[in-house]
């Protein structure tokens, strides 16, 4: 378990102070995939580096399995880092080493005997699907392959925690999908705790169990992925989620639909896991006898189930009060746009 208690980190430059992380408290459970989302500059990069001590806290505690890592000596911290692996946006492999040597690198630091470390590295390379690339240099690999090497390198010491710093942000959508699948499989197979920071809500939605949303150094919202996607409370969260739902940003979509349907009522209906499998909309429309027109619909599958967002249009002369009431009765979130 990783517990962050009132963690603060401030950077001082010549004439200003930047509060990168401000009073953050989080609990990340064992074996879960925890996402930290936010726009760039929200402090998530700093936060993830505090967890393995690459950055030092100014105040607060970071307790990993009952041990406050902020109080560790440099030597003990280095030891501890062998349990907390990390992967990066730009992979950060050593170009001077082959794939196999890169994967064996942490074992070399841990002073594992040469034959043993090469054997382990080879085994790990097979796990990530690079058995035919063992002796090539990273420069001849694709982005996805490089990230696989980085993942193998991170896992070769059997860590308990894997930190992912925008691990898929430099990859194309297809490769991102593959890497996320790999991370998900690793999480299941090795019972690894994964902490990932990203600005892509899709990434979080696909593999995270819980997430925290950051803005200006603070955690503004933290819950299960399901709860956040169905009922986001903070404006930043809403903005981030709607980018996922529609592929375009929310304000733009609402505006477009409003332009297209200037008269009448435009509603945004959000279904969660519980009710997305029932024909609620049909039943409600039949009951109150209001003709509805679906103008935009989107269903996303998350770790815990489906999530649907739908825009419906109803003509001016119709009374929507009854409709709203019935939908609310079915625990469907309705907003008038």
């Amino acid at each position: 378990m990783i517990e962050l208690k009132n963690v603060c980190k401030t950077y001082h430059s010549k004439d200003q102070e930047i509060k990168a992380v401000e009073n953050v408290s989080l609990t990340i459970k064992d074996h879960e995939i925890f996402g930290i989302v936010g726009y760039s500059g929200a402090g998530k990069s700093t936060l993830i580096r505090l967890i393995n001590g690459l950055e030092k806290v100014d105040a607060g505690e970071i307790i990993i399995d009952g041990e406050d890592i902020c109080k560790l000596s440099e030597r003990n911290l280095r030891q501890k880092r062998q349990e907390i692996a990390m992967i990066f946006q730009h992979f950060n492999l050593l170009w001077s080493r082959t794939v196999l040597e890169n994967i064996a690198f942490p074992l070399e630091i841990a002073k594992v005997h040469k034959e043993e470390r090469l054997a382990k590295a080879r085994e790990m390379a097979i796990q990530v699907g690079l058995e035919d690339k063992l002796n090539v240099y990273p420069s001849s690999l694709s982005g996805g392959q490089k990230q696989r090497v980085a993942i193998a390198r991170a896992l070769v010491l059997n860590p308990k925690i894997l930190l992912c710093d925008e691990a898929t942000s430099a990859l194309d959508p297809k490769t991102t999908e593959d890497i996320l699948d790999l991370l998900k499989a690793i999480n299941r197979k090795y019972h690894l705790t994964i902490v990932m920071i990203t600005h892509q809500m899709e990434t979080v939605q696909k593999i995270c169990h819980r997430l925290a949303v950051m803005k200006e150094g603070k955690v503004v919202e933290s819950d299960t992925v399901d709860n956040i996607f169905t009922s986001p409370s903070h404006p930043v969260t809403k903005e981030l989620i709607q980018t996922v739902d529609t592929g375009v940003d929310v304000i733009k979509l609402a505006k477009e639909l409003k332009n297209k349907y200037p008269d009448g009522h435009l509603l945004r209906v959000t279904f969660d896991n519980e009710n997305s499998e029932k024909p609620i909309l049909f039943e409600v429309a039949k009951k109150v006898d209001v003709p509805i027109n679906i103008v935009s619909a989107n269903i996303k599958n998350t770790q815990a189930g489906a999530l649907g967002v739908m825009y419906i249009h109803i003509e001016e002369r119709q009374d929507i009060a009854m409709l709203l009431e019935e939908l609310n009765k079915n625990d469907v979130v309705v907003e008038v746009v």
Binding site: N52, L54, E74, R78, Q79, R81, Q82, I84, A85, M86, F88, H90, N92, L93, L94, W95, S96, R97, F105, P106, E108, I109, A110, Y137, S139, A150, R153, A154, L157, L163
Partner: protein, 222 residues
């Protein structure tokens, strides 16, 4: 014809000696000083409580490198005469030129080392730290291998500098091709012999540069 060239064998040997002995010493010392300057800099490789001590070390070594790089070689040669007498037992001859040539090449190579290390990807250093690497791991397993092409080029450039400085070491009777060329050219007014000595210097410089380029390219897997 070939016998005519016999007079150049001794100076050739002296030039090679005055290039490679100081080169080996300067590479060792320069790498050490360059590494000290780099890791004491503001890049988080050394995690120590006492930041001000680190800063002092950085500033002092940086300043020393700058000072000794700005002193003209001939002046350095004179400055070092007492130390040379102590180290070599004499202030004239080929051996006596070694300390001053070393001292002139060391700060130059140290600076090249700092530049080469600075070019190493910060992300790679950070990743190594995240994987549990200590300072020595970072120096020997990351900084040196990842900057090897630049380091090899730097060694070649330093060697070429030494070839040219060795001419001035002739002032204390160190000999060498450069001084031979100077003597035949200026003192004895014998242009063919001067050109011959110069030609061999050019060939040496070319060989050093080509070997440096080839090796540098060979180790570069980027």
């Amino acid at each position: 014809m070939l016998e005519e060239l016999n007079y150049l064998i001794e100076p050739l040997y002296e030039t090679l000696f005055l290039t490679f002995v100081p080169l080996i010493l300067a590479v060792i010392l320069g790498a050490l000083i360059g590494t000290i300057i780099f890791i004491s800099g503001d890049n988080g490789i050394l995690d120590v409580e006492e930041k001000s001590f680190l800063k002092t070390v950085h500033v002092v070594f940086d300043a020393l490198v700058n000072i000794f790089r700005s002193v003209p070689y001939l002046i350095l040669l004179i400055w070092l005469l007492p130390i040379t007498r102590f180290l070599v037992g004499s202030t004239i001859g080929t051996n006596a030129a070694v300390p001053s040539l070393t001292l002139s090449a060391t700060p130059f190579f140290a600076r090249m080392v700092v530049i080469a290390f600075t070019e190493v990807d910060k992300g790679t250093i950070e990743a190594s730290k995240a994987l549990g690497a200590g300072t020595l791991d970072i120096i020997f397993k990351v900084l040196i291998p990842e900057s090897l092409p630049a380091l090899i080029s730097s060694i070649a450039v330093t060697a070429i500098n030494l070839v040219s400085y060795s001419t001035m070491a002739g002032a204390i009777g160190a000999g060498g091709l450069g001084f031979e060329a100077y003597q035949y050219g200026l003192i004895r007014q014998d242009p063919p012999r001067m050109l011959m000595a110069t030609g061999i210097i050019i060939v040496i410089v070319f060989i050093i540069q080509i070997v440096g380029d080839v090796l540098s390219k060979y180790v570069d897997k980027r």
